[in-house]
């Protein structure tokens, strides 16, 4: 694999809450190769959105990075002063927000929001900014005339295209997209995904794609990272991870995921629920729900272990992955 554009090591993000400190992200190691689209998959509450915000440096007021390093293209972001870190934003790392009504400021026309970025952060003249904005709109499949519209005049899919155009404005090295297609209907979602795939190829984009949907990752991403309870449990090329998952949680997700083809036998749900991160378990965080649990799993956290080139999993039984995979396809395995 090529060199990593972004490398994260042992990153932890802690929230101050009424019930005490919660490490929503706790010891994440992650590499994003240049030119890769990385899919960060996990279920609600696993810390994927917190991780994305920590990478951007836009955590909410009650959260902070308590540990770890984020290195982007050779620069240690955590070592930078706040002003320097801010100067990198949008130029080096940009952001596609969740497709909600309010991800774009409702009171400004798209042209104004484009100019804000292109002139204010990109030092373009107004005229140059308008030309660039029109090009960007064209690139994401929007009519440049719509630059004069307010966000509420767009449909959900168009709003998401506009947000993507905004994110690409300053040729960022890395784009972080947080559930960018989740709120969209399936046909519009596919259209946006296709647009992203084409842009990715044309512009050689490096992107992190946060989602709960394995199928979206399968469709779009070259690399996949699976997150569970604040940690990355499996990482590797998408084709490899989905076809030969090495972590029981990934296997569980794959088996629970309904498909349009194949037999309609019972799906295998993963019993139980994720651990309470106020009091995280020692050892593997999936142990309580894992059908293949062994005594060692509850005492020590498994170190990431390579199963194939650039493909690792954090599981004590990673060596038996093949056997476990076969067992995991049986629904009975998952019944407690």
């Amino acid at each position: 694999m090529t060199t990593a554009l972004l490398s994260v090591s042992d990153l932890a993000v802690t929230y101050r809450t009424q019930a005490g400190l919660v490490a929503a992200v706790d010891g994440v190691n992650l590499e994003v190769p240049a030119g890769a689209m990385l899919g960060l998959v996990g279920e609600s509450g696993c810390g994927k959105t917190t991780l994305a915000r920590a990478l951007m440096g836009v955590l909410p007021g009650n959260a902070r990075v308590s540990r770890g390093r984020i290195v982007l293209d050779g620069t240690d972001l955590q070592a930078l002063s706040a002003a320097k870190r801010r100067a990198l934003l949008w130029r080096d790392i940009s952001f596609v927000p969740q497709s909600s009504m309010n991800s774009l400021d409702p009171v400004y026309r798209m042209r104004t929001q484009m100019r804000e970025v292109l002139c204010g952060r990109g030092d373009l003249s107004r005229g140059a900014a308008d030309t660039r904005a029109a090009d960007l709109f064209q690139a994401v499949g929007l009519n440049p005339v719509r630059l004069n519209d307010f966000p509420h005049q767009f449909s959900g899919g168009m709003r998401q295209r506009a947000a993507i155009a905004l994110a690409l404005a300053l040729h960022p090295k890395l784009v972080i997209a947080d559930e960018p297609v989740t709120a969209l209907d399936v046909i519009v979602q596919r259209q946006v995904l296709d647009m992203l795939r084409r842009l990715g190829e044309d512009m050689n984009l490096t992107a992190i794609f946060v989602t709960h949907d394995i199928a979206v990752v399968a469709y779009l991403c070259t690399v996949t990272a699976v997150m569970y309870a604040g940690r990355i449990v499996e990482y590797g090329p998408t084709a490899d991870v989905l076809a030969r998952p090495a972590h029981p949680y990934t296997m569980g997700l794959m088996n629970a995921f309904p498909d349009l083809e194949g037999p309609t036998q019972d799906l295998a749900p993963i019993e139980g629920s994720p651990p309470d991160l106020h009091t995280p378990p020692t050892g593997c965080r999936f142990a309580a729900r894992c059908p293949f649990v062994q005594p060692v799993c509850t005492t020590t956290y498994p170190a990431p272990t390579d199963v194939a080139p650039d493909h690792w999993a954090a599981c004590h039984r990673v060596g038996e992955a093949e056997t476990l995979r076969a067992q995991a396809t049986e629904a009975a395995t998952w019944q407690s």
């Binding site: 915000r53 951007m56 836009v58 909410p60 007021g61 801010r86 100067a87 990198l88 934003l89 949008w90 130029r91 790392i93 940009s94 952001f95 927000p97 969740q98 909600s100 309010n102 991800s103 774009l104 400021d105 409702p106 009171v107 400004y108 026309r109 804000e116 970025v117 204010g120 952060r121 307010f150 509420h152």
Partner: protein
């Protein structure tokens, strides 16, 4: 619609008591005297007739003649209104200038001691009865320090204390709205996006958060002006200011119903007008409401 109902109400209000003529002629007036006064004032006609007649004339700005001042009501009001309106406008300006910055401050320091302190001070402001505040200000600044006049509006210094007292009605409400609007805005997706854009904090707060939070505040200040005018009676009495509120108070004390009717109606119409203005301003500021 609302205006018409208020018209009926204000008419009904003044006619609800039957002893109108008695209150004018005095309690020991003879029956003929009362009948005579009733006839002179047209009070012996059926009520609906009286109402239509009155409403018709009111629509043309003719509220009849004051029982007590023996002057046209419209000219009485014309004489007293400018003072009240001027005070109201100054007061709402004071309220905005005080409430908005402190609301922003509290929101930016949400949950800290600054926020709690601003909140408690606002509540305390809300708790102080305005007539008492007026009296205390007179004692401190008028009598104690002798900086400002204790009554009347002889020059601009006379406006200072009454506007402060009037502004106190609106400050807590506007402060809370600014604060909650800013808190919501600062947590919103578009402010997070603005942060991700690497914009300076001042630009995030002013261009994105405040621009969104200000819309309801600006709109509500028109309505608050209506409340301030409605509450002007107390302040004008305390400071002995000859405005419409004072006129109404005098008239109520003496049962001068044409004046009361006219003032109540006037305040209602002003309020309805301000509510309309508030809607229009809101729509003009918020692109999502335009074209509806």
């Amino acid at each position: 619609m609302v205006c018409l109902t208020v018209l009926i109400l204000s008419f009904g209000l003044s006619r609800a008591s039957g002893n109108l003529a008695i209150s004018i002629a005095g309690a020991d007036a003879s029956a003929e005297d009362i009948a005579k006064i009733n006839h002179e004032l047209g009070l012996d006609r059926p009520l609906p007739v009286q109402f239509v007649d009155w409403a018709n004339r009111a629509a043309h700005g003719d509220f009849g003649e004051s029982f007590l001042f023996h002057e046209k009501v419209s000219s009485l009001i014309e004489e007293h209104l400018p003072v009240t309106i001027t005070l109201g406008l100054i007061a709402i300006a004071v309220a905005v200038v005080v409430a908005v910055p402190f609301g922003i401050l509290a929101a930016l320091y949400e949950g800290t001691y600054i926020d709690v302190a601003v909140g408690v001070v606002a509540l305390a402001g809300q708790a102080i009865p305005s007539f008492w505040l007026g009296l205390m200000l007179i004692l401190w600044f008028g009598v104690g320090l002798q900086w400002l006049p204790i009554a009347g509006l002889d020059d601009w210094t006379g406006y200072i204390l009454p506007s402060i007292v009037l502004a106190f009605v609106a400050i807590p409400v506007m402060l809370r709205m600014t604060r909650s609007g800013m808190v919501d805005a600062m947590r919103s997706d578009y402010v997070r996006t603005a942060r991700a854009k690497g914009l300076a904090r001042i630009s995030i707060v002013a261009k994105h958060a405040l621009r969104n939070a200000a819309m309801p505040v600006v709109a509500v200040s028109a309505v608050q002006l209506g409340f301030i005018l409605g509450g002007s009676v107390v302040t004008e009495v305390v400071f002995n200011i000859r405005g419409v509120g004072y006129l109404a108070w005098e008239s109520i004390g003496k049962g001068d119903f044409p004046v009361i009717q006219a003032v109540v109606l006037l305040f209602s119409i002003i309020f309805v007008g301000l509510t309309l203005l508030s809607d229009l301003v809101g729509a003009a500021l918020d692109p999502r409401l335009r074209g509806r």
